[in-house]
Symmetry: C2
Subunit: 270 residues, 2 copies
């Protein structure tokens, strides 16, 4: 099979247009714009219903580059919530379930203990994920989100965890979270095509005015996207490029069809 042109590699993470569109609208939008992949968030799936979402995705011929998200192993209901997430990922044919692992438990400052809990939590759900044929993708989050969202903060740390856990688990490489890492190239090479389950793109704005919702469109920031993509591809990843932009100030305020058009255009250069 000839290698797909870059444009056909695009996938839309629904967070990018979450303020404007329901999941049904995002699915139709992807089809209308010739975007081949989609990565829904579970709140959007819950609104639409899993069965309806699965049918609409299938009917429109979309691939599901990932389901966002499982994880938060430091929360009380983590066990059931992750079980449901695996079921949903299976139902919509997601290529992976993205794990945002959770930060410090309330009142705790014990990061080492939180990390141990995460490891145990992933180990506990991994057999079910394997059985369902749903690869788990640990997403290392930016260190600025270590306290409140994820205590796995580097690719090296995530890969050490993968090595300890065995088959059926890998990483989601999101440029926003890892672009700064002096060991990025080395750890992408270490991960290889087997462990890299997803590749997320956006950009880092200077200045960044919010720790969560001020991500940039590809090309508007300082991340050397072609270089990181080359590393990821050289490592053996041949999957989709998922655009995930949390942008309260800019992209959530634009017409969603315009956002998709800009994503496509910018993706060609990255």
């Amino acid at each position: 099979m000839p290698s797909a042109p870059a444009a056909a590699r695009l996938s839309l993470n629904t967070a990018t247009v979450k303020a404007q569109w329901t999941l049904a609208q995002a699915i139709e939008g992807c089809a209308r714009h010739g975007i081949r992949g989609i990565a829904p968030w579970r709140d959007k799936i819950a609104e639409m219903g899993v069965k309806q979402a699965a049918s609409a995705i299938k009917a429109n011929g979309l691939e599901v580059s990932g389901l966002c998200r499982g994880g938060f192993f430091t929360a009380k209901d983590w066990r059931d919530d992750n079980r449901r997430a695996i079921e949903e990922a299976h139902a919509i044919g997601a290529q992976c379930l993205v794990l945002v692992v959770g930060g410090l438990p309330p009142e705790s400052k014990d990061l080492a203990a939180a990390r141990e809990r995460v490891k145990e939590g992933i180990a506990a759900i991994l057999p079910e994920a394997r059985q369902a044929g749903v690869p788990l993708a640990i997403e290392p989050l930016h260190p600025m989100q270590a306290a409140d969202r994820a205590c796995i903060n580097t690719l090296e740390q995530a890969l050490d965890l993968c090595d300890a856990l065995g088959e059926g688990i890998g990483v989601a490489v999101d440029v926003y979270h890892v672009w700064w890492d002096p060991k990025l190239e080395q750890q992408i090479r270490r991960a290889g095509g087997k462990r890299i389950l997803a590749y997320h793109i956006c950009d880092w704005l200077v200045p960044t005015r919010d720790l969560l919702n001020d991500r940039g469109m590809m090309g508007d920031g300082v991340i050397d996207l072609p270089r990181i993509r080359a590393w990821v591809e050289a490592a053996g990843y041949g999957g989709l490029h998922e655009v995930e932009i949390f942008s309260e100030r800019v992209w959530w305020r634009r017409d969603a069809d315009e956002v998709l058009a800009v994503c496509k255009e910018r993706h060609r250069a990255t």
Copy 2:
């Protein structure tokens, strides 16, 4: 549980009260509150004059835990600016010159090249620093400041640089920048008492509302300060504990004498 730190270990980084006090006031304030050390920023020294600053510090019996700052090797005038910084550090008897190394040059996305430039810049000024008897302290900055302030973002990266550069250089360990690092304990041990030239304290607030100026007072955030201090001391560091709090919303708005009193009180528990 490690024993409580001696009150006599405290040092005031003038940034903590920069909105309220001149350097002369900060020097008097330290003396009045029985705080043994001070770490001035160069803009405050420029206002007061180097000689006057040096005399006032000496007259009040203060130790200088560091001068902030040299670095910014990706800026145009880096050579002269660092030469002056070394002279000033020598003049005020600073125990080290803290290097905030600089981020990406304007219009650049080449982080690897910026890091190479930093290495060359430090190598260029190191002989003068050695001659002046001023140890250089590379301060790894939080990855969220990689683009605009410092492209050295982990202790491991800083120590690799130290190993490459030899004598007369070490690191400033600022808990705000490194608390999240899964390799923190390991790298503090690696650094040892020889390479750890400064220890800076404050806290990480949840939520953090600004990437630069929303640091917390010790005890108000999620950093396990006693644990990190124990690691630093076990590694062989026996120097001052420098409080550096950039806080536009809280501490820069309070009466500076009150800020110093709170610093002393909170330091006892950290």
